[in-house]
């Protein structure tokens, strides 16, 4: 995802001289080409995330379009108030890119895990929140963020994730991407859980359950239509995210149901309200906390009484 993000920003930056890529001392062996080709449009501010956000606000107020890049927890949590006031209060055109969302860097400990970022970013007025699932979704998110303006948070993984879409899906802010059609239950997945959600749907299909599977990179604004369709046409909605169950994507779906005054059966899968203390790689930790396709499909079957 990282490479497709950098390539997409570069494409935009080549056409628009006001586009700047700012890093808080990250991107070794990733940004060198960009820096060489567009030296005036690249800036490493140093290990100073709060300063980076403030500087980007000043630049936005002076006509620049900044893309900010560092680890997800540092770009969202370290400088939360700068984001809230400098960027969102003033509704400025700044895009935050959070590398290693969720448990991507599980092995590094909780400092490098990012399972509260969606919740806090989502809570700020004017902020848009995107969690792409694969390199193609990531590319679309970057282009959308540039086109639609305003403060935007894009939560990505690392590098080397597989492409999950055969061809470029149709997607824009507030919309979602249909993966499988089905009429028994609905699964909504955001960001890097899509592969797990697809595997879950396949397991369920083998058990005779047909799944309406939706990828929802746009967490805010969220796709009300897809939610109301799922609530009316399928028995039950399940949400999957690599994020705390407090305030994240599942909560956004619940809020949408509340706003639409729809009663629905829904269950949210995510990280429980605790720090993940297991040491291990992303897949290992996912299995430990029940965020893998086997655990999720078992729980869904149980919930359906099968």
């Amino acid at each position: 995802m990282r490479n497709s993000v950098v390539t997409s920003i570069k494409k935009i930056a080549l056409k628009d001289k006001n586009v700047m890529l700012l890093s808080a001392d990250m991107g070794f062996s990733v940004f060198e080409d960009f820096e060489k080709e567009l030296p005036k449009q690249f800036l490493n501010v140093g290990i100073s995330e709060a300063n980076m956000v403030g500087v980007s606000a000043g630049m936005a107020l002076s006509g620049k379009r900044c893309f900010l890049y560092t680890f997800a927890p540092f770009v969202s949590m370290r400088c939360f108030e700068q984001i809230r006031i400098d960027l969102c209060y003033q509704n400025l055109d700044v895009v935050l890119i959070g590398l290693g969302g969720g448990l991507t860097y599980a092995k590094e400990g909780s400092t490098h895990q990012s399972v509260e970022d969606i919740a806090i970013m989502r809570a700020i007025p004017n902020m848009k929140v995107f969690c792409p699932a694969d390199p193609i979704e990531a590319e679309i998110c970057i282009v959308e963020a540039y086109k639609k303006k305003g403060p935007t948070y894009i939560r990505i993984g690392k590098s080397g994730e597989p492409r999950l879409h055969d061809k470029k899906p149709k997607f824009s802010f507030g919309k979602s991407i249909h993966i499988f059609k089905g009429n028994d239950i609905s699964i909504f997945s955001t960001g890097n859980m899509l592969k797990t959600a697809m595997d879950t749907a396949k397991i369920l299909k083998d058990k005779g359950i047909s799944v309406n599977l939706i990828s929802m990179p746009s967490v805010k604004p969220i796709d009300y239509k897809a939610i109301s369709f799922a609530a009316s046409k399928t028995k039950c909605i399940f949400t999957i995210e690599e994020h705390s169950i407090v305030g994240g994507f599942g909560s956004a779906v619940l809020e949408a149901l509340s706003k639409l005054s729809i009663m629905a059966r829904i269950k949210c899968f995510g990280v429980n309200d605790c720090f993940v203390k297991y040491v291990g790689d992303q897949d290992f930790v996912r299995r430990k906390i029940g965020l893998d396709s086997d655990s999720i499909s078992n729980k869904i079957l149980k919930k359906l009484g099968i």
């Binding site: 890093s23 001392d25 070794f28 490493n44 501010v45 092995k107 590094e108 490098h112 297991y278 040491v279």
Partner: protein
């Protein structure tokens, strides 16, 4: 003294070798960042800190906080050598179902006094510990190691102001000046110089030493008497100890491949276990 230095030098070789093995096996990053502070850590833990009190978690223990948490593999190796936890646990470093993450986690093993890894936190935590010692009339000292790049963070300078205002002369900060940070040389990314004069202007007592000279490290840390907090600027070399890997940012990120590992091992000879 000479004997002592020889012994500590030998220990530092053993620690470096173990770090190399752990990093290679677990394919983790930060070998260069760990090697630059090994000698400082060794003097601290073998000569300066009241290690037995730390082990027994006595309220009178000295406190050590590794602010540049990404170098924690060095701390893990030393803690294990000193018997804080056993070798089996050490060997689970950065592996599935292990106890030791890539950054220090408070409570994961004895001896880790704070969760660090997000840069710019450790100095404030250390200042809070030092202030508490004053409030409680306790004699313990507090030590922390920060990186030069870490000094980009505003929080470092907030804590620097705080520490002198509150006369925390029981606080010692060692600045591991290896000249690198995440994306390049510190001098290219964000100039810190004149570093000494900055800290002096913040009213700190400042010393400058060679961060790989055991005697200089020891002399800078032993018998500290001052009314002010102390900053030791330790000039270090990234990945010091393996010549072909020294002073190159690549070793912030990469772990050695098999042939590089073998080549690196040659530095240690047969005597180092």
């Amino acid at each position: 003294m000479k004997n002592k230095i020889n012994k500590l030098t030998f220990t530092s070789m053993e620690v470096r070798k173990k770090i190399l093995e752990l990093i290679t096996k677990s394919k983790s990053s930060h070998i260069g960042c760990a090697y630059s502070l090994v000698d400082i850590l060794i003097v601290l833990f073998y000569e300066i800190l009241n290690v037995n009190k730390i082990k027994s978690v006595s309220p009178d223990r000295d406190r050590f906080v590794l602010s540049k948490g990404h170098a924690c593999v060095a701390l893990y190796v030393i803690l294990s050598k000193l018997g804080f936890f056993n070798k089996k646990i050490l060997n689970t470093y950065y592996s599935n179902n292990g106890r030791l993450a890539g950054h220090p986690v408070f409570g994961s093993v004895p001896g880790i006094e704070a969760s660090t890894g997000s840069l710019g936190h450790g100095l404030s935590i250390a200042a809070g510990m030092a202030l508490s010692a004053k409030l409680d009339n306790k004699k313990y000292s507090v030590y922390t190691i920060i990186g030069d790049g870490e000094c980009d963070e505003g929080s470092i300078w907030e804590a620097a102001l705080f520490a002198t205002h509150h006369k925390l002369n029981n606080l010692t900060v060692i600045l591991d000046k290896n000249g690198f940070q995440g994306y390049g040389r510190t001098s290219d990314v964000l100039s810190l110089e004149p570093l000494r004069r900055k800290w002096e202007a913040f009213n700190w007592n400042v010393k400058e030493i060679d961060g790989h000279n055991i005697l200089q490290i020891y002399n800078s840390l032993a018998n500290i008497k001052s009314k002010k907090p102390l900053l030791i600027i330790a000039k270090t070399v990234h990945c010091k100890g393996i010549p072909f890997m020294e002073d190159s940012l690549m070793w912030h990120y990469r772990s050695p491949k098999e042939d590089e590992f073998k080549k690196a091992l040659c530095n240690f000879g047969d005597k180092i276990k």
